[in-house]
Symmetry: C2
Subunit: 278 residues, 2 copies
Amino acid sequence: MGIGDDAAVVRIGPWCLLAADTVVAGVHADLTLSGLDDLGWKAVAVNVSDIAAMGGTPAHLLVTVAGPPGTDLDLLYRGIGDAAQRWGCPVVGRDLVNAPVLVVTVAITGSLPGPPILRSGARAGDGIWVTGPLGLAAAGLRALKERGKGATGAAADAHRRPRPSVPAGLAARAAGASAMIDISDGLAADLGHLADASGVGLDLDAVPTAAGANQDDALTGGEDYVLAFTAADDGAVLTAFAALSRPIRIGTCLPDSGARLVLGRPFPSRRGWVHEWR
Amino acid sequence: MGIGDDAAVVRIGPWCLLAADTVVAGVHADLTLSGLDDLGWKAVAVNVSDIAAMGGTPAHLLVTVAGPPGTDLDLLYRGIGDAAQRWGCPVVGRDLVNAPVLVVTVAITGSLPGPPILRSGARAGDGIWVTGPLGLAAAGLRALKERGKGATGAAADAHRRPRPSVPAGLAARAAGASAMIDISDGLAADLGHLADASGVGLDLDAVPTAAGANQDDALTGGEDYVLAFTAADDGAVLTAFAALSRPIRIGTCLPDSGARLVLGRPFPSRRGWVHEWR
C-alpha cells in the first residue's frame, strides 16, 4: 500500500536498511546550472548510493518537499520518478509543505541479501578498491560553470544525474568486502571515514582519474557516488566483478591507524566537498 | 546498528509502516512562541501520530536537519531526543546540511501487531469516535499569541508539545476499528479525508471540546493529534478502551458519500489548518 494514508505499509525484513538525505536548492544544486528534475534525481540518487554502500538493494522511498509556492513540482517529481524507476524503489509516501527555500528530503529503505557491509570492517593488509574512476562529477560541475546550463557530455551528466551502482555494491559483497563506503564527499574524505571507523591506516598508490578530470577532482571532488571497499582477497574481487566494469585497486590498509598516505604523501588538507554544516 | 554508517540497519517486519513529515521554522512553528526544543519534539510527534493512526507502534527515526549556521542544534536535538525517548523510537540516522531556513524532516518506521488500519475501511452505519476532546492545541496557540512565549498551562503545552497516543491507536485496533486517522488539520478536514477514502458520509452529533477551547477550535483547529476512528460495535470500543481515557462517540457514518453534517449543518467551509501547499 502506498501514498494516501497516514503511513505506507511495506513488506520488508527481517533486517532493513534505513537512510535519509536532504538536498537544498542553492546549496547542493545550483539551479542556474541544472534543472529541478536533476535536483529530484539527485535527491534519490544520494540515498540509493547509501544503500548500495551497505551492500543492499533499494526498496522504498519517502519524499518530503518544502518549498516556495510557484515551484515547478511536476518537473521536480519527474526527476524523482525517473530515479525511482531506474533503481526500482517506488515512492510510498510524500509530504509537501511551504518554505521560503526548496528543501527536498528523501528517506529510503533497503533490503539486505546478507550482513550489512559497514565502514568499520577493514583490517590491516586488506586491499582498497574503487568501483570506477573518480572526479567526473567535479569536472562536470566545472564544465557547467564554464559553459552554462547547456553543457553536454559525460562529465556534465555525471554532475547533474549521478548514477550510483547497486550491482557494484552487491559484487563487492560477493567478493567478501570487509568494509565499504560511497564516495560522496571526495575520495580522501570518505576513505578517511572508513579508516577512522576501522582503525586502520591508508596507503594509496593510485588515484584513478576519469577522462576530463584531474587528480584534485578525483581526490577531493565530490558527488561521484563511486563505491570504495576493502577486501582481503584480490582474486575474489576480480571474480565477483567479472560481469561488471572492472574495479580498480588503489592501495592497502596499514596497521598504523594514523597513517593517511596518497602516492607517498599525506592526504590533502582540503578534504572533501563543502556541503557540510559550518 | 545506528548512526555513523551509510545507512542504519534495523530489525523489523515482515510488514513495516513508513512515514515522513517536515516541520519548517516560521511555517509550522513560530519560534517567537515556542523553543527549538519544542520544534524538535513536534517534528517527532507528528510522525508518531501517523504511526499511531495506522494502529502501529513507532520503531525508528531518521532525522534530517537543514538550517542556517548558528542554529542551536543542541536545543533542537534535545527536543527530538526527549520525544524519541518518550515514544521508544531511537534516532538511527541523521543528516545535517546548510540551508537559509530551518527545515526539520523526520522519517519514521513502525511495527504492526496486525493489519494496518486504513482511512478507507469505514462502512455506513459505523460509529465515529475520537480518543479525546479537541481544540486544545488551537486554544494553546491563541494563549501563546496573547501572552507570549512564557504562557503556561495545558493548552500552551498542547500546542508546544503535542502528545499523540500510541496506546489509543492500539486500543482502537483491539476494538475492531474499521478506519482511523489522526486529527492534525482539524476534525472537519481529517474526518473528511477518512470519509472520502471510505466512500461514506458523515453525521456528527457531537463536537467534544477541550476545556479552554471553543467549538471552532475543535472543528477546524489543528495539531491536536487526537485519533478519530470508526467501528461497528460500541461495546467492543468501550471494552478495548477501558484501561485508557474514555473515547467519545461523535457520530455515525452515512451511506450518502456526499453528506458532511455536523450538528445538523454542513461542514464549515474553512476546513482545517493552513500549512498546506498553496
